[in-house]
Amino acid sequence: MKKSPSVLVIGGGSTGTGIARDLAMRGLDVTLVEKGNLTHGTTGRMHGLLHSGGRYAVSDQPSAKECIEENRVLRRIAGHCVEMTGGLFVQRPEDSDEYFEKKLEGCRECGIPAEVLSAEEAREIEPYLAKDIKRAIKVPDGAVDPFRLCVANAASAVEHGARIETHSEVTDVLVEDGEVVGVEVTHQTGTGPYVHGEPGEVEEIRADYVVNATGAWAGQIGDLAGVDVEVRPSKGVMTIMNTRQVDTVVNRCRPKGDADIIVPHETTCILGTTDEEVEDPEDYPEEGWEVDLMIETLSELVPMLAEARTIRSFWGVRPLYEPPGTGTEDPTDITREFFLLDHDDRDDLPGMTSIVGGKLTTYRMMAEQISDHVCEKLDVEAECRTADVPLPGSEDFTVLRDYMDDFGLRSPIGRRSAQRLGSRADEVLNSVDPNPVVCECEAVTRAEIQDSLDTAGTELNSVRIQTRASMGNCQGAICCHRMANELAPEYDEETIRASLDDLYQERWKGERHAMWGTQLSQTALKHMLHAATMNRDEDPAAADADIDFAAFDDGGASEGDASGVASGGAVADGGRERTDRADDDALGGADGDN
């Protein structure tokens, strides 16, 4: 049998996994490498909006048209990753009528179904909207779970023969005779089905073609290959509310600006966002004013946000790109279109193409275009099928909705589980007995945790991303250690403890941005539970020094004090024994006997 041409894809986000799936389905020999876990970069850090295209209907109509087209495709192929919430562009009294009309017209020009609602009609859909809003435009926005989308694309790619290597960082791009011939990766510490190398091991992976799909990191890969890729990473904050104040995507209907969107996402709402250019996509300040801005500005649309509880905030970095010489000053003016940079045409370096810019909603279309390009380069004739074949978990999803209340679970738990697992719900939820709930906030059962371990290995953060366990209001206070316990008996206690520490620290990072009010009380309870009750901060098992167990209370086995401590008088007899205050100068303050 003739050997298929080989392609190496760098980047395990939506674009990379989308490309891997597309090319693998076309029969190519695909390897995908990702330095972290899947969705490590931008994909894992976005607000989860499934664009209708409405947001670009005035400023960027080509993007808007792509969005509405792909919006329809994703509803078809990724039903279990998408919630069709609908969206509103809400006009406040101070927002311009002219822009409102332009938005409406733009939507119609781009083929985006758009309907004007009176303030009353809009409030009927979303009762918590401000009482003084003027009117709104209704569009088919939705919410998409980027994590599940990526995982499903990767799973499909593997089904079609692809090799996926997570925790494998590209440390060099191999250039021979002026042509890219592969990459050198250094394997990192990690576990899971997509980890095959040993930490620190260096591997050369050769391929007939290399695709750089690393988004905001594309410039760094470019550097390794000796070409310039002018990515302009731009950070944006996303603030997560504890509950859904709205069930519809709510956009502010005014020209571009910070803090103008609320996306209902699973059990939460995500407030977004800011747009600030940064130097390094991995090292940038995460600042409190950005969080304050979200709350203050968006409460103009939904006033109750001002007092509502936020559970964390996170930042993502957009992989913005603009062709050399454009020189846009304000990052919000940089186009959201995607660019395919063939380094042969551009830099006389054949064998590699970079893909930059773009957005999650159009990931499949981007993947299709670059796959077409790669096939053309490799002289392969194969049709793209990704728009027609459902992703794993989304087959017959409509049928599933009819029985998602089963599985012996309380109906909201069964429903949530089925919404996450899609057509795999039956198989997964019936696999474990008893099947207790591990994460109560997000209704995640043991069966789903166990299922996610197949791909997560010991990485509880990956379990979290797949299942949402520990992503609810207690931010893992109650369930982190339960999740870690699920790693037994497959992994040993030391590994379990290390995984727990990692997850706890990761939760802490985002939760710090929400530490006031109820969430600060929650954090204080978490601190009490993990430090006071479980002594995880001073865990003797993790300490270097050995404990002298004999110095402690032996329960009175040896009558008289076994500890050897100078006894100040035991009081178990209920007597009012008092000792002389030996060191009241040091202890100062109130006298116990005055």
Binding site: T533, N535, E538, S563, V565
Partner: protein, 422 residues
């Protein structure tokens, strides 16, 4: 017409109970004004006094660590005497239900995660399971309970170098419940010794565990061995297994914490303390630097309670004795000064178990435990504070939570009672 007493203690947790008992000892007429259920229900039921101080620990002698505590720590205000007074009141209130009073030394007790921790008093049901005693140990977990994984906990004990061999097994509880049955359901089934196939819950559980027992000299279960009839349950299991049976303290839902709460309220009743529970103190009236009345929100109707002396024991951030927003941290009943960094990002550290400022938030006591203003002067002549609402201690990392509450409660209550009956 205000309901009038000598001493009014606001709060319902361990500090409030201790303050009320301490004030009652002086002969004062005391009323406890509790709102909702206290944080005792979330706590393990262990009474930590001091386990870590100044980078040292676990401390076998809690008193040895007092000097090393940072400036502003409430233990410096009440002194070693205050700590001892708190423990005395506690020991008298709970009687034989708690152990550890025979010595000044801390015990090392395992927690449900498997880590051991230093603690000063522990429930009788926990006593046979001390990690600071020898005797091989079998830990038993249940398949449907996710909080306690017995094999993991046993391996965790081994990793800490305990002076015995621990081993863990996971079994099915003899009575099959729905997967989300509460621990109170398990406890009730044991309390009532409900019927199961081929016997009763207790005997069937003993049979199951007996099959797993392999020479171990003690057997531990997560703390759910009965509620009202817990002693009976433990005695029967011990009897059937031929070795002592113990409970491993857990986080919420904590039956041990719940039982401690019951014991303390029984002690209050015994001591003649009057109790008004269920409604929050929300406001006050003051005159000439003294609190005259405390206003209780009785289902949105203000009801006045007056007393000569008032003890504020409403808890910290968890107990809602402290409140916060994006800008500030406040004490909501009397508006006492609560120092805190201006930038809320300085309230916590980037490391999860760092030296967080929030953990030490609270009012600043003078040498009579009176909350002071920014000027260092007491807000009110007759208002004292005890427990979590008092700042200066990271009780979680120090393992001093109950101790601080007992000590400050004992001293604040006694001073208030003495003033009121003078």
């Amino acid at each position: 017409m205000a309901i009038t007493d000598d001493v009014l203690v606001i709060g319902g947790g361990i500090a409030a109970c201790t303050a009320a008992l301490s004030a009652a000892e002086t002969g004062a007429r005391v009323r406890l004004l509790a709102h909702k259920k206290s944080t005792l229900r979330q706590a393990s039921g262990l009474v930590d006094v001091l386990g870590y101080a100044g980078g040292d620990g676990p401390l076998s002698d809690p008193y040895a660590g007092l000097d090393a505590l940072p400036e502003g720590h409430p233990y410096h205000v009440v002194g070693e005497d205050g700590v001892r007074a708190g423990l005395r009141i506690f020991d008298e209130a709970v009687g034989d239900a708690y152990r550890g009073g025979h010595t000044d030394s801390n015990a090392l007790v395992m927690t449900h995660g498997g880590a051991v921790k230093p603690t000063a008093r522990y429930p009788e049901s926990v006593a046979p399971g001390l990690a600071s005693t020898s005797g091989d140990m079998l830990l038993v977990g249940f398949a449907g309970l996710t909080d306690f994984d017995a094999p993991v906990a046993a391996d965790h004990l081994t990793a800490a170098g305990v002076p015995f061999s621990p081993r863990g097994v996971t079994v099915e509880f003899p009575k099959r419940f729905r997967a989300d049955a509460k621990v109170t359901r398990f406890a009730k089934a044991l309390d009532r010794d409900e019927d199961v196939d081929g016997g009763t819950v207790r005997s069937a559980l003993a049979d199951t565990v007996a099959e797993e027992l392999d020479g171990e000299s003690r057997v531990g279960f997560p703390a759910m061995l009965g509620d009202d009839h817990d002693e009976e349950v433990r005695a029967e299991l011990s009897d059937r297994l031929g070795v002592p049976v113990f409970e491993v303290p857990t986080g919420p839902p904590s039956l041990l914490g719940l039982k401690l709460e019951d014991m303390l309220f029984d002690a209050l009743d015994e001591a003649g303390v009057r109790i008004s529970a269920g409604n929050p103190a929300v406001d006050f009236e003051a005159e000439d630097g003294r609190v005259e009345t405390v206003v209780v929100d009785q289902k949105s109707r203000p009801t006045p309670y007056s007393a000569d002396q008032v003890v504020l024991a409403t808890g910290g951030l968890v107990g809602k004795g402290l409140d916060s927003d994006r800008e500030s941290v406040t004490e909501p009943v009397f508006g006492c000064h609560v120092p805190h960094p201006e930038d809320r990002y300085d309230w916590s550290e980037p490391e999860a178990f760092g030296d967080h400022a929030f953990a030490r938030f609270g009012v600043v006591p003078d040498d009579e435990l009176r909350p002071t203003g920014e000027d260092g002067e007491p807000h009110f002549e007759n208002l004292r504070a005890a427990g979590g609402v008092v700042g200066g201690a990271d009780v979680a990392r120090e393992k001093s939570a109950s101790g601080v509450s007992l000590a400050t409660g004992a001293v604040a209550g006694r001073l208030a009672g003495e003033e009121a009956t003078r």
